[in-house]
């Protein structure tokens, strides 16, 4: 399976996302922000980082990159996309996911090992988890507070589209402790914490992040 990993100017976790794909058994394919060719990948990861320095608003400038033109169309057509941290912000800015991510309520950047509960295992990126499974993966962000209007939040919850929630500590003031969401179809997932940093016991707090990357391989095989 060919999993594209997009590099924008200022992407930081692109190598890590590619490594996670490799460890899960997929083939990482580098995609370049300035190139609208998706290289016939089977799925795409938008990695973390500070695209364009995150200077205007996180993800605001990246949204207009040539690669995003193709990606938005492909995602609407069903291509699986996982946006991690900055990638989540880009997905919201691109309106592939509802809502937005705002400045942490602490006003500080925060890096911590975060406990989450996986709430939805129907998405293409979470199918290898057990419903309700608790995991610990790194979280690191300065603008990770998920916001949306009440109606949208109700709808997300009602439709089971909250895929993960913060446990113990809400690290950034996210509404309803939301750590990640999906679109209706379940192919597009945005997640604030970083599963790609929890795929090796040596370098991560756990290996709890790995199922995100094996899920997509399983889902693609099942769909094929």
């Amino acid at each position: 399976m060919r999993i594209g990993v997009v590099t924008f100017p200022g992407s930081l976790d692109d190598r890590d996302a590619a490594r996670a794909v490799r460890i899960a058994g997929g083939e990482p394919i580098p995609l370049w922000h300035g190139d609208d060719d998706l290289k016939s990948v089977d799925a795409v990861v938008l990695p973390g980082g500070f695209s364009y320095g995150d200077y205007l608003r996180c993800g605001a400038i990246a949204r207009f990159a040539p690669v995003m033109h193709s990606l938005v169309a492909a995602a609407e057509g069903g291509l699986p996309v996982l946006g991690i941290c900055n990638g989540f912000q880009i997905l919201c800015e691109s309106h592939l996911l509802p809502g937005a991510l705002t400045r942490n309520d602490s006003l500080h950047f925060v890096c911590r090992d975060q406990r989450l509960r996986i709430e939805d295992v129907t998405s293409m990126w979470t199918s290898d988890f057990d419903a309700g499974q608790e995991i610990v993966i790194p979280l690191k962000n300065g603008e990770g507070g998920y916001v949306a209007d009440e109606a949208t939040l109700d709808r997300l919850e009602g439709e089971g589209r909250v895929i993960a929630r913060y446990l113990e500590v809400n690290p950034n003031g996210s509404r309803r402790d939301i750590a990640g969401i999906r679109n209706e179809r379940g192919n597009v997932v945005g997640l604030m914490p970083h599963p790609e940093h929890a795929v090796e016991a040596l370098t991560g707090p756990t290996t709890d992040g790995l199922p995100f990357f094996t899920s997509i391989l399983t889902s693609l095989v099942a769909a094929a």
């Binding site: 205007l56 608003r57 605001a60 400038i61 207009f64 919201c92 800015e93 509802p98 809502g99 937005a100 705002t102 400045r103 942490n104 309520d105 602490s106 006003l107 507070g145 916001v147 949306a148 209007d149 003031g173």
Partner: protein
């Protein structure tokens, strides 16, 4: 030469932690009766020539879609000569 000023503010219903922090600090530093503080952004854009017609329209569109995020923010734009 035209100067465009775009003010971007979080919508009133969106929580503004920075504004709240400033409100707290103003109070601690002795300013009484601060009822509310909101913190937004201001862009000052200098463009060559007049800003009219299609270019003005594009500027409006970019103020709405690039400089602000309509999901959480409102913008106001004014052109100074």
């Amino acid at each position: 030469m035209a100067r465009v000023v775009v003010d971007v503010m979080l919508k009133p219903e969106i929580l503004d932690p920075q504004g709240r922090a400033v409100q707290g600090a103003l109070g601690r530093l002795g300013l009484t009766g601060v009822a509310d503080v909101r913190q937004g952004k201001q862009f000052v854009i200098e463009v060559d020539g007049e800003l009219e017609g299609e270019r003005l329209e594009l500027m409006h569109k970019l103020a709405e879609e690039l400089l602000s995020n309509p999901v959480i923010e409102d913008y106001r734009m004014r052109v100074e000569a």
